[in-house]
C-alpha cells in the first residue's frame, strides 16, 4: 500500500495537478485518490475537531450497514425463484442464483450514477462528492428483481440529474435521490414496479409453474387486494416473503440499524418516532376496522399493528431512507415530528390506497418536502420562547 501511495504521489499526481495536461480531470483523480488514501491536506484556520469521520467514512459505514440486507436479498431472490418453479435447491444454489440477478443491478446503478456524477464534476470543475455511494447501493435494494436493467439505469439517471445535480450536488438535494429513482420507475413503468409478476424471477421457466397456489404478490399486495395473505408475520420478520430485493428481512435491517445507531450516523430520534408513528396509525386502524367500507379493507385494517411494521418496505424506509441527514429535518424536535409523520402516513397510504401499497416511499418523499417547514416552526418556537424569557428577565431586573 505504501509503495502504491508513493508511486501515485510521484508519478500520477503531476499528470493532474494545476497547469498540467490532464488538469481538467483533476476531480476524477482526486475522487479516486481520497477514496484510497486519507487526504493529505490539513485545516489552515482554527479547526474544531469533533470526530475523525468525514463524508467518505460516513458513507462507507452506511454501505456496511446495508450489506446484511443485500446478502439476504440475494438469497431471498434465489429462494423464491426455486420455490416458484418447484425445484429443490441447496442454500448455495439459491444464493448463487440471486447473486447473478442482483449484482448486475448494483453494477448498473453505480456505473450510471457515478458516471453522471463524474461528468458533472468535470464540467463544473467541482470536487467529486461521495453522496452517490450510498444512493447507488440503496437503489437496487428497493427495486423489484425483474426490473429491466435499462429502466433501472434511466431511473438512476433521473434521480442523479433532476434529483441532485440541478440542486447543486450532494448535500443540496431536497429529496432522497434513491427514493426519487424508485418513484420515477414506479410512475413511469407501473407494470414493472407493482402487481404480482415482478417480485419473483421466473424467466426461462414458462410452463413449469407446477406449484399449487403459487402467487407472486407481496404480502402487502395480497392484503391490499384480498385482505388476507399467505405469509405470516414471522415470515415477514425473517424476510422470506417476495418484495424488493433488500426490503424483506426485518432481521437483516435491524442488524444494519444497530450499526447505524451504534456509530451515531443515523438519527435515533427519527427511527424511534417513525416506529411510534406507524404503531399509532396501526392502532387507529385496528380500532376503526369495524367501520370500514369494504370487507377487504376491513381485513387489512384489522391487521395487528405490529404486523404492519414488519411488512413491505416500512422497516427499510425508516432505517435507511428517513434518516437521510440531507433531506430530513435538522432540529432535534423537528426530527421527532418528521419521523412520526413518516410512520403515520406510511401506514395510512398503504391501507387507504391499494394502488400504492408502498406507502413508505410516498410518505418519505412527502415529508422530505415538509422537512424545512417543520424546522422553520421549531426554530420560530425557540426564538419566541427565548424572547419571552428575556422579557421576563428584564421585567424582574
Amino acid at each position: 500500500m505504501k509503495a502504491l501511495h508513493q508511486f501515485i504521489d510521484s508519478n500520477v499526481h503531476p499528470l493532474f495537478k494545476e497547469g498540467s495536461k490532464l488538469e481538467k480531470y483533476w476531480p476524477v483523480y482526486d475522487g479516486f485518490y481520497t477514496f484510497l488514501f486519507t487526504p493529505g491536506h490539513t485545516a489552515d484556520g482554527k479547526a474544531h475537531v469533533r470526530d475523525g469521520v468525514d463524508l467518505k467514512r460516513t458513507m462507507n459505514t452506511v454501505i456496511t450497514a446495508l450489506i446484511p440486507t443485500l446478502l439476504f436479498g440475494m438469497w431471498n431472490v434465489g429462494y423464491h425463484h426455486f420455490n416458484a418453479i418447484g425445484i429443490d435447491a441447496t442454500f448455495f444454489e439459491q444464493f448463487l442464483f440471486g447473486a447473478i440477478k442482483v449484482i448486475p443491478m448494483v453494477v448498473v446503478s453505480y456505473g450510471v450514477g457515478l458516471g453522471i456524477e463524474f461528468l458533472f464534476c468535470v464540467i463544473k470543475g467541482h470536487q467529486i462528492e461521495e453522496g452517490y455511494l450510498v444512493s447507488g447501493m440503496l437503489i437496487p435494494l428497493i427495486m423489484p428483481v425483474d426490473l429491466p436493467l435499462w429502466m433501472l439505469a434511466l431511473s438512476v439517471a433521473f434521480a442523479v440529474i433532476i434529483g441532485k445535480e440541478v440542486f447543486g450536488g450532494t448535500g443540496m438535494n431536497i429529496f432522497n435521490p434513491a427514493l426519487l429513482a424508485r418513484a420515477f420507475a414506479f410512475f413511469a413503468y407501473p407494470t414493472y414496479m407493482s402487481g404480482d409478476k415482478v417480485w419473483i424471477n421466473t424467466t426461462g421457466t414458462e410452463g413449469m409453474m407446477a406449484v399449487d397456489g403459487f402467487s407472486g404478490a407481496t404480502a402487502l399486495g395480497e392484503y391490499a387486494t384480498t385482505g388476507v395473505s399467505q405469509y405470516s408475520a414471522l415470515d415477514a420478520f425473517i424476510g422470506i416473503i417476495p418484495g424488493s430485493v433488500g426490503e424483506t428481512s426485518v432481521i437483516a435491517i435491524m442488524l444494519g440499524a444497530g450499526l447505524l445507531l451504534f456509530t451515531g450516523i443515523a438519527s435515533w430520534r427519527i427511527m424511534l418516532s417513525a416506529v411510534v408513528g406507524g404503531v399509532v396509525m396501526g392502532l387507529i386502524f385496528n380500532a376503526v376496522a369495524p367501520f370500514a367500507l369494504s370487507a377487504e379493507q376491513q381485513a387489512f385494517m384489522a391487521v395487528p399493528f405490529w404486523q404492519q411494521l414488519v411488512m413491505g418496505g416500512f422497516a427499510f424506509g425508516v432505517v435507511y431512507m428517513a434518516t437521510d441527514p440531507v433531506s430530513g429535518s435538522q432540529t432535534d424536535t423537528g426530527k421527532y415530528v418528521y419521523g412520526f409523520l413518516i410512520g403515520f402516513l406510511s401506514i395510512m397510504i398503504r391501507v387507504f390506497n391499494p394502488a400504492y401499497p408502498e406507502g413508505v416511499m410516498l410518505a418519505i418523499l412527502f415529508m422530505n418536502t415538509m422537512a424545512p417547514l417543520v424546522d422553520h416552526y421549531v426554530i420560530q418556537a425557540n426564538i419566541k420562547k427565548r424572547e419571552q424569557r428575556l422579557a421576563l428577565k428584564t421585567a424582574t431586573a
Binding site: 433532476i162 440541478v166 420515477f184 410512475f187 413511469a188 413503468y189 407501473p190 407494470t191 414493472y192
Partner: protein
C-alpha cells in the same frame, strides 16, 4: 453618422406614434418577432402560460390546435386593442381587454367544435381558459395599448410563436416517450415492446403533469446554458 440617425429614429419613435417611413420589416419590427422565440420567451423566460403548457401537451395534435388558437386570439386581440387604444378609458381598460379576448375565444371555441370536435373535447376547459392566459393579457396590457397596429400584430404573432414552439417541443417529447407516437402515428416499432418480446416500454410518467413541468424545466436549463444574455448575476 448611422449611429446618430438611429438614435434620432429611436427618439422619434418615442414621441411620434406613426412612422410612415419605417419599412414593414425593419430591424426593430423583426426584433418584435424574434425576441419572444428565445431571449424573451413567454414560457421559459417570463414563465407565463404554464398551466396550459402542462395540461394539453400529452399529445402533439391538441398542442398544435391549442397553439393555433392562441396564435389567432393573440394576434387578433392585439390588433383590436391597438385599434381602440386611443378610445379606451384608462380606468376600465382591463374590462375592455377581457371583452375583446372573451369574444375571440368564444369564436375559436365555436370553430373548434364545428371542425375538430374530438380535439375540442380533449382540450375541454382549456380553450375557455385561453381568456385567462397570462401571455395574452400581458401583451395587451404591456404592448398593444401603447403601440401601432402593425407593431402590435407582429408582437402578437411573435409571442404566440414563442408560446407555440415550447408547447410543441414539450408535446413532442411527451408523446414520443409516453405513447411512442407522434401526431397519433406509431413511431416505436411494435416489435420493440416488452409485451412482444422486445426490450422497450413506454414511460407512463411522461403522461403525467409533473413530467411536463420537468420537461419545461429542462428546456429552460438548456436555454439558459446556451444563451449568455439570460445568465443572472
Amino acid at each position: 453618422m448611422a449611429d446618430v440617425l438611429e438614435k434620432k429614429e429611436e427618439a422619434k419613435d418615442l414621441l411620434v406614434d406613426k412612422q410612415p417611413k419605417e419599412p414593414l420589416f425593419s430591424k426593430k419590427n423583426r426584433k418584435l418577432l424574434n425576441d419572444p422565440l428565445n431571449d424573451n420567451n413567454p414560457i421559459t423566460v417570463q414563465v407565463l402560460g404554464i398551466c396550459s403548457a402542462l395540461a394539453i401537451t400529452v399529445k402533439l395534435y391538441p398542442a398544435l390546435v391549442m397553439s393555433i388558437s392562441v396564435l389567432f386570439v393573440m394576434a387578433a386581440g392585439n390588433v383590436i386593442v391597438s385599434l381602440m387604444r386611443n378610445f379606451i378609458p384608462n380606468r376600465i381598460r382591463i374590462i375592455v381587454q377581457l371583452v375583446v379576448v372573451a369574444s375571440l375565444v368564444a369564436l375559436v371555441d365555436q370553430v373548434l367544435k364545428a371542425f375538430v370536435y374530438d380535439v375540442s373535447k380533449e382540450l375541454s376547459v382549456f380553450v375557455g381558459l385561453i381568456i385567462t392566459n397570462c401571455i395574452i393579457m400581458g401583451r395587451l396590457e404591456a404592448f398593444a395599448l401603447g403601440n401601432s397596429v402593425w407593431r402590435s400584430f407582429l408582437d402578437g404573432i411573435g409571442n404566440a410563436f414563442g408560446y407555440a414552439w415550447i408547447l410543441l417541443a414539450v408535446a413532442f417529447f411527451r408523446e414520443l416517450l409516453g405513447s411512442g407516437t407522434l401526431f397519433g402515428f406509431q413511431i416505436i416499432p411494435d416489435a420493440w415492446y416488452l409485451a412482444n418480446g422486445g426490450f422497450y416500454s413506454n414511460n407512463g410518467f411522461m403522461l403525467l403533469p409533473p413530467m411536463a413541468l420537468i420537461t419545461v424545466g429542462i428546456i429552460i436549463w438548456v436555454q439558459r446554458a446556451r444563451n449568455t444574455k439570460l445568465i443572472e448575476e
